[in-house]
C-alpha cells in the first residue's frame, strides 16, 4: 500500500515554503520508510535529505533501535508440546 497523501501534502507545502516539506510530514515519511511503506518518491527524499539531517537521523535511528529491541526481547517461547497437543485434538475431530 503506497500513500499519496504525503506527496500531495508535500507539493502543497513546497509552494508555501520553498522546497522543504514541513516537520510533521518528514516525521510521517520516516515512519513510512521504517515500515517499508514509502513510495519511491518518499524513499528518495529520505535518502537525499532526511538521513543526512541530524535530528531526523536520530529519530529514525531511535525508532529503528526500538524495533530491533522489540524483535530481540519480545518473543515469548511457545510451550513445548503445544503443537503435538493441537495435532492430537485435530486427530480427535477427524476420527
Amino acid at each position: 500500500m503506497k500513500s499519496n497523501s504525503t506527496n500531495e501534502s508535500n507539493s502543497q507545502n513546497n509552494q508555501e515554503s520553498g522546497n522543504q516539506p514541513n516537520h510533521n510530514q518528514c516525521l510521517k515519511m520516516l515512519e513510512l520508510v521504517l515500515d517499508g511503506e514509502a513510495s519511491e518518491e518518499e524513499q528518495e527524499y529520505f535518502e537525499q535529505h532526511l538521513q543526512n539531517c541530524m535530528p531526523y537521523y536520530e529519530i529514525y535511528n531511535l525508532d529503528k533501535t526500538i524495533r530491533g529491541m522489540i524483535k530481540e526481547k519480545c518473543c515469548k517461547k511457545v510451550p513445548e508440546g503445544l503443537a503435538d497437543e493441537i495435532r492430537n485434538k485435530i486427530g480427535d475431530i477427524t476420527q
Binding site: M1, E31, D35, I66, C75, V78, I86, T94
Partner: protein, 192 residues
Amino acid sequence: MSEVQKRGYSLGKKEEIFDQEFLPHIDSMYNFAYRLTLDEDDSKDLVQDTFLKAYRFIDSFQQGTNAKAWLFRILKNSFINDFRKKSKEPAKVDYQEVETVYNSEDVDTPMTTDLRVETVQDMIGDEISNALNSLDVDFRTVIILCDLEGFKYDEMAKILDIPIGTVRSRLHRARNLLKEKLSEYAKKMGYK
C-alpha cells in the same frame, strides 16, 4: 471483498495444509496471543482454539495465500469474542475517542523525547517487554503486528478490521506511548 469459496479439500489435503501452512506459524501466534492476554495459560488456550477453528474452516482457506494473516485474524477475533470478556485487564479506553483526538491537527505535533539510542540499547533486561505490555492492548497489538511480525499496513487493516488510516494513526500513537514508557524507565534507571 472476495467471496468466500468452499473448496472441499480431502482429509489428506487438509492435513497437508495444516502441517505445512498453518503449524509453522505457531511461534508467532503464541507470542501474539501472549501479548494480547499477558497470561501463559490463556495464550495456550487461545492458540489451540485458533488452530481448531482454522481446521474447522479450512475449506474457506485458499492454499498458497497468506496463511499467517488469516490465522492472526482468527486469533484476534477469538481474543475479542472469547477472551477479552473474561480478561483480567481493567476497562479499556475508548479508542474511537483516542483516535479522534490523535487525528486532530495538534496530535501530529512530534513528541519530544530525550530518549537516546544508547539508552535503549542498554536496556538488556525486561524493560522493553514490560513497556510494551504496559500499553493498552490495541496499541501493543499494532506494534507486534508491524514491528515484530512485519505485516504491511493493508494486511494489518484486514486482520484488525480497521481502515489503513487508523492503522497508521494507531501505530504512530503506540510508538510515541512506548517511547514515553521507555523514557520513564530510563529515568528510573538513572540514565540522563
